[in-house]
């Protein structure tokens, strides 16, 4: 067995790849929560007084939330498909 294959097998059996992904998901979730918080703040401020700078910041934040959510869904999909392929692999062995 090659050293690379051995490392990959160990990583797979310990679930280290999905651990890395769950770390990424957690980071994106924290980021999205912060962006949502700021979005609400700006919306409140805009309700009182509308300025060009605030409007600009709001549209940037909305775009970033959209982008973050897309990335989160992608990571969740990848995780889901990995899990299902593992289950299928186990079933076919049985």
């Amino acid at each position: 067995m090659g050293i690379k294959k051995f490392i990959n097998d160990v990583k797979e059996s310990l679930g280290l790849n999905s651990f890395k992904k769950s770390g990424k998901k957690k980071s994106i979730k924290v980021l999205l929560a912060n962006l949502e918080e700021r979005k609400e703040e700006i919306e409140k401020q805009l309700a009182k007084k509308s300025t060009k700078a605030l409007k600009e910041e709001l549209s940037i934040i909305k775009m970033q939330i959209k982008k973050g959510e897309k990335l989160l869904t992608k990571l969740e999909d990848e995780n889901g498909s990995e899990k299902s392929s593992k289950t299928l692999g186990k079933k076919s062995k049985n």
Binding site: S27, I60, Q64
Partner: protein, 599 residues
């Protein structure tokens, strides 16, 4: 040097035993060099990472000093590494002092090893296999194996050196009795402290002096009291190594060497003044831990440990004051016309062998370069730096000029950029040859950011002439346009400063998108502004050409600085940073935002 050679030569001629002792010292010192070489092989990256996490509190940095010196058995190596870390800005002076304090305690383990193990076990029996295995490993290609080889060979030579010193003193005893030269009382204390200082300065190692003292003491060639004085002297003498090392280093290195000297001299003085009390404490502790009444070598180890511990405890409350004193004593030279050429603050050849530290140093120096660039660009735009960094409305910022006359940007460039930029590139080239591909990739980005900074300054220089001309123009249309450029660049510099001082990644993302969006607005051809001004005869053809060129310069300055910001100032945890490219707004999305803004 010639005197030392003559004295040694005469000594060798007169006494073969003296030759054996000297050879022991030489082999011991060679072992230390080999050991240092071995640990250097492991210091590329790993040591720096541990350091970052383990020196944020004073007790941690003292602990780090104790541990590393105990493992490496060389306070000199720890001092040199600390100076490198300090020079590169990885740690602060207070933490550096903490490590040095710790190293002083760590070095006492050497005395225990020699007194407890080295003299009781036939140490040379271990030396030979270590040397053989070590040398075989030194010839291997893998860096880590070579490192282990140097460490093993180093330990082998240390043990062999101790063996020869021991043998030499045993044989020496039969011919000359050095203890006949023992001096008692306070006079003896001062004389032997002086000898300890001298011996350590000559050998450049307190460790070697201490081993020599212990072996001489074990052979009964010196009295216990004189050995204590020699140990105090060795502690003071060892600071000379740090001072010599700091001569070629930057201000931080000099400050740390100063701290080392003050600490060891104060500790030495305390030991001399309270020698009686220290000796009683040694007796008490020795009895408590079961050290035999006549085992003076172990008692010397106890004494060495106690007085270094006491020194650290006494000095801890004064670390703040010590830092303040050293910062005032060794300050960055500023002000005079002669010294207007700014110099590098963080680049030091001693960090070249430590890739992660060298990279950190280059990054810090690039930030220094940006600080200077910020000053030049602000003044080139005829703006006050304090105004840019304040909360003032941008209209008031541009209404308050820096000077009535345009500044000489070329002169500023020569004084504050050219030299530093050149040194960064030169240092990077030297550092690169010792770096792994991963570090080289990072270094390449930092080099690009340096170029971006320089290009941004050059762009500002191109802008300056027309900016002065048209912001004072009687034509309000062209004046408005140039005021807009000035305001835009002031906003950019202000936003960069906010990004630099922000720890929150979400805020950084938003601000970077904002400056990217604003940069796009300089495209006055695409947004139809130029056409409108020309069509309605609001500006002349000459003004139109200038405006078109200068908008391009403003756009390029913004682009260069945005690139630089994304390399130098984005902070976040490892996971977030790995997602940075995926999370940042791309060109299509930027276009979408622009359309939304216009619409």
């Amino acid at each position: 040097m010639p005197t030392i050679f003559i004295v040694l030569g005469y000594g060798f001629w007169v006494s073969p035993d003296f030759k054996e002792i000297s050879a022991g010292v030489a082999i011991f010192l060679f072992g230390m060099l080999s050991l240092e070489e071995g640990f250097r092989a492991f210091s590329g990256g790993m040591l720096e990472k541990i350091l970052k996490r383990s020196t944020d509190k004073l007790y941690k940095s003292i602990g780090f000093g104790i541990l590393t010196t105990t493992i490496m058995q060389s306070s000199s190596l720890v001092s040199v590494l600390t100076i490198s870390f300090l020079g590169a800005g990885l740690i602060g002076l207070a933490q550096g002092i903490g490590i040095i304090f710790g190293a002083n305690i760590g070095t006492t383990t050497g005395a225990w090893l020699v007194a407890g193990l080295g003299l009781k076990v036939k140490i040379s029996a271990y030396a030979m296999p270590m040397l053989v295995f070590g040398v075989i490993l030194i010839f291997q290609k893998a860096k880590s194996l070579r490192g282990i080889g140097y460490v093993l060979a180093g330990l082998g030579f240390l043990f062999l050196g101790i063996h020869y010193m021991k043998e030499g003193f045993e044989a020496f005893k039969a011919t000359i009795d050095l203890s006949a030269f023992a001096v008692e009382g306070l006079k003896g204390l001062f004389i032997f402290t002086g000898i300890g200082i001298f011996a350590t300065v000559v050998m450049q190692s307190s460790h070697a002096t201490l081993v020599l003292i212990i072996t001489a003491l074990a052979a009964g060639q010196i009295t216990y009291e004189n050995a204590l004085a020699l140990a105090i002297g060795a502690n003071v003498g060892t600071t000379i190594t740090a001072i010599l090392g700091s001569l070629s280093s930057n201000i931080d290195g000099k400050r740390l060497a100063g701290a080392h000297l003050i600490f060891n001299v104060v500790t030495g003085l305390i030991a001399i003044i309270f020698i009686g009390q220290f000796m009683s404490s040694v007796e008490y502790i020795s009895a408590a831990v079961g050290i035999a009444e006549d085992d003076y070598t172990l008692k010397l180890a106890v004494f060495h440990t106690i007085f270094n511990f006491v020194g650290v405890i006494v000095m801890i409350p004064f670390i703040g004051k010590l830092v303040e004193f050293l910062e005032n004593r060794f300050g960055y030279e500023k002000g005079s016309e002669k010294d207007m050429h700014d110099k590098v603050n963080f680049l030091n050849d001693s960090v070249l062998e430590l890739p992660a530290t060298a990279l950190a140093a280059i990054k810090r120096e690039t930030e220094h370069l940006y600080d200077n660039a910020f000053e030049i660009m602000a003044h080139g735009l005829n703006l006050k730096r304090s105004n840019i960094l304040s909360d003032k409305e941008l209209d008031s910022v541009i209404a308050d000029p820096y000077s009535q006359e345009p500044i000489d940007m070329d002169k500023f460039y020569q004084y504050k950029i050219k030299g530093i930029y050149g040194e960064i590139i030169d240092f990077s080239t030297k550092a690169q040859s010792r770096m792994s591909p991963e570090y080289i990739e990072e270094l390449y980005k930092i080099k690009l950011s340096n170029r971006d900074i320089v290009e941004a300054i050059k762009g500002t220089k191109h802008l300056q002439k027309n900016l002065v001309k048209y912001t004072n123009s009687s034509n309000s249309y062209i004046k408005d346009e140039y005021d807009g450029i000035k305001k835009g660049l002031a906003d950019l510099l202000r936003t960069i400063d906010t990004i630099r001082n922000t720890q929150r990644y979400d805020k950084v993302m938003t601000l970077i998108t904002k400056i990217k969006l604003h940069a796009e607005e300089y495209d006055i051809i695409a947004n139809g502004k130029l056409d409108e001004l020309i069509r309605q005869n609001k500006i002349t053809n000459e003004m139109a050409t200038s405006l078109m060129n200068d908008s391009t310069y403003a756009y390029e300055i913004s682009q260069k600085l945005i690139e630089m910001v994304q390399i130098l100032f984005i902070k976040g945890d490892d996971v977030t940073m790995s997602l940075n490219d995926a999370l940042m707004i791309d060109d299509d999305e930027l276009e979408e935002l622009l359309k939304e803004k216009k619409g």
